[in-house]
């Protein structure tokens, strides 16, 4: 058990179990999600550093793989955002790769997906929210953005329904980061609880016969988690790109 949620134990939790009376043990346990997210960030940074250290005109090996991933992302966001897709590729691509790696990180034994914690997903969603609001104000100006929030009224009836449309739009803007954060966190947490429950079931079934090994019942769920981890990272970034698309005034 980690905190209040049943998940497979990670190495930080095991260290905490051993040294829970020490200050650093409590520190590790308190900040475990942040530590795991930093580990993931370091791993991604190292992979990209070594992949692009000796760049060649005709890529091979790791450089080839990284360029393939970058091209795939460029194509994906180019379809949503059109010609302006490339401008937002560094932000959206980083978001996708970081979330995907975090989602899959929990499938490595004794590791944890930081995205199964609401604080981590909320921080991603707040980044997207702040960026979209910045783009809205940059593209439309403060008053232009307020006019857009009021439903862009053009006649007397349009101005009459502004008191209805304005709160609706504000609620829509506020609910976007909450939706992004809750969906990613809920899916990842559910997935990892499911893996832990199936793993525990495999242990308990054979324990009845005093058998020292366990049935790896969690294996099919791990394959499902590979799919859902990828899907959730894709959904998060596609929705972020849709929100960026909606902040470009001439496109809709």
């Amino acid at each position: 058990m980690v905190g209040q949620v049943y998940e497979a134990p990670n190495f930080i939790y095991l260290i905490y179990q051993k040294f829970q009376d020490t200050a650093w043990g409590a520190f590790l346990n308190r900040w475990e999600n942040l530590i795991f997210s930093l580990i993931v960030a370091c791993v991604i940074a190292l992979v990209f550093y070594f992949g692009t250290r000796k760049k060649k005109l005709i890529p091979s090996g790791l450089q080839n793989t990284l360029e393939y991933i970058a091209e795939l992302l460029q194509k994906l966001f180019g379809e949503t955002l059109g010609t302006q897709g490339e401008k937002y590729l560094p932000f959206l691509g980083t978001l996708f790769i970081y979330i995907l790696t975090m989602n899959l990180w929990g499938l490595i034994p004794f590791m944890k997906s930081p995205t199964s914690n609401l604080s981590i997903t909320a921080s991603f969603a707040l980044c997207v929210f702040a960026y979209v609001q910045y783009l809205n104000i940059r593209n439309m100006g403060v008053f232009g953005f307020l006019y857009h929030l009021a439903g862009s009224p053009k006649n007397a009836i349009g101005w009459l329904i502004v008191p209805l449309i304005l709160p609706l739009e504000i609620l829509t803007q506020l609910s976007r980061p909450v939706t992004l954060a809750l969906r990613l966190c809920g899916n990842m947490m559910g997935e990892h609880i499911l893996i832990a429950v199936f793993a525990l079931m495999g242990i308990i079934w054979l324990e009845t016969f005093a058998f020292p090994l366990a049935i790896p019942l969690q294996i099919p769920i791990v394959f499902l988690a590979l799919l859902t981890g990828f899907m959730q990272a894709l959904v998060f970034t596609i929705l972020s790109s849709v929100y960026i698309f909606l902040s470009i005034p001439e496109k809709h």
Partner: protein, 69 residues
């Protein structure tokens, strides 16, 4: 025309987009009721606004990503 993966990504999130705004609206209304002593009117007003907001966002996404047929 958006590709199938993009459509799937958007449509997967529609239940959340429908469910979250009424909850946020309810909380905002409850907070405003506490400040303005208008309980329970603003709570229900913002709940309805939240439902409308979710439906509007869904309509917007379906219009952008749904099939035109």
């Amino acid at each position: 025309m958006p590709k199938n993966e993009q459509k799937m990504g958007v449509f997967i999130s529609l239940p959340f987009i429908l469910a979250i705004p009424p909850i946020i609206g309810w909380f905002i209304g409850r907070w405003l009721d506490g400040r303005l002593h208008t309980a329970p009117y603003l709570k229900y007003l913002f709940l309805i606004l939240g439902i409308l907001s979710g439906a509007r966002e869904c309509y917007r996404l379906i219009k952008a990503y749904g099939d035109k047929t």
